[in-house]
């Protein structure tokens, strides 16, 4: 099982704190996001990937995607592998001071 946690504006938009994805094998973070999108679409008729990725599939400015507390941009980006038991965090950080 993979846990996907939504924070701040994403959680408010989806009215969802977290979802879980049943899986036995590894998959890329992009595949995890697509699975999560399907679950959200079925249960809430809402989408969220457009908030994270641009039209070309690149991670949008001001978006943090973490696997077990590590930013995927500091690893292999959307190709990062996610294993059962991992936790994903999705949020836009506050940039102001």
């Amino acid at each position: 099982m993979i846990t996907v946690n939504f924070y701040t504006t994403l959680r408010l938009m989806l009215s969802t704190k977290e979802i879980t994805i049943d899986c036995k094998d590894q998959m890329t973070i992009l595949e995890v996001l697509k699975h999560a999108e399907e679950i959200i679409e079925k249960s809430l008729s809402k989408n969220f990937i457009w908030k994270l990725l641009d039209e070309d599939g690149n991670i949008k400015l001001g978006t943090i995607i973490m696997i077990n507390g590590k930013n995927i941009l500091d690893m292999d980006g959307l190709e990062c592998m996610v294993s059962p038991g991992d936790t994903i965090a999705l949020f836009p950080p506050g940039g102001g001071g």
Binding site: N5, L12, G69, D74, P93, G94, G96, G97
Partner: protein
Amino acid sequence: MITSDRVFSRNIGVWDRVKQQTLADSSILVAGAGGLGCFVAQTLVRSGIGRLYLMDDGIVDVPDLNRQILYIKDDLGLPKVTIAAERLSAIHGLTEIIPLQQRLVENRLLEINCPLAEIKGFVDCLDNYPSRYLLERMLPEKAFLVHGGVQEHYGQVTTIRKDLTPSLKSLYANTEDSDSPMAVCSQAVSCVASIMSFEVLNNIWGKPQLLNSLLIIELSDFTFSKIKLGQANECI
């Protein structure tokens, strides 16, 4: 009569006299005198920090007045750190306030007016990522950096230590700033800043609560969430 014992008597009821003295013996650099910086600086002064360096090269502008609590309309166009130092010094006069009207550019320039060796920690109240990464690079070994960021009605806080935590730069992975003016409200600023300020005290006392964890604050539904951070995998 204003004495340390009387001014901080209510603080000492919360912590104790030894901890109060530790604060009095400490020097802190607050980088940025905007929304977070104003609030953090004021609460650190009221907590009894001994010496506070406040760095910013900006002037007070009209949109600052919704959240930057040390400024009023008569200050428009004046240097922020000059005004802030006046207001902070007028609170009780027991904290030495050292305004640094300068940009964060390099260690040497900062060192001229702010001896880094005496600094217990930095407080990142900056408003852009390049400056944050630069501040982090200047962080002395064993010193702490309390980072905060705020936007709209949410924000985040963590403690960075070069020897103990992932770097800010790896946490944000070179996140860049948006070009458009940032929406932010006073309540989010004061909430995030209060947490930053108390985490500074925790660090000074050797008990940081946000080491290797990121606290995310969402005021819309009053949710506070901690994300455990992964181990550092990049040197800065």
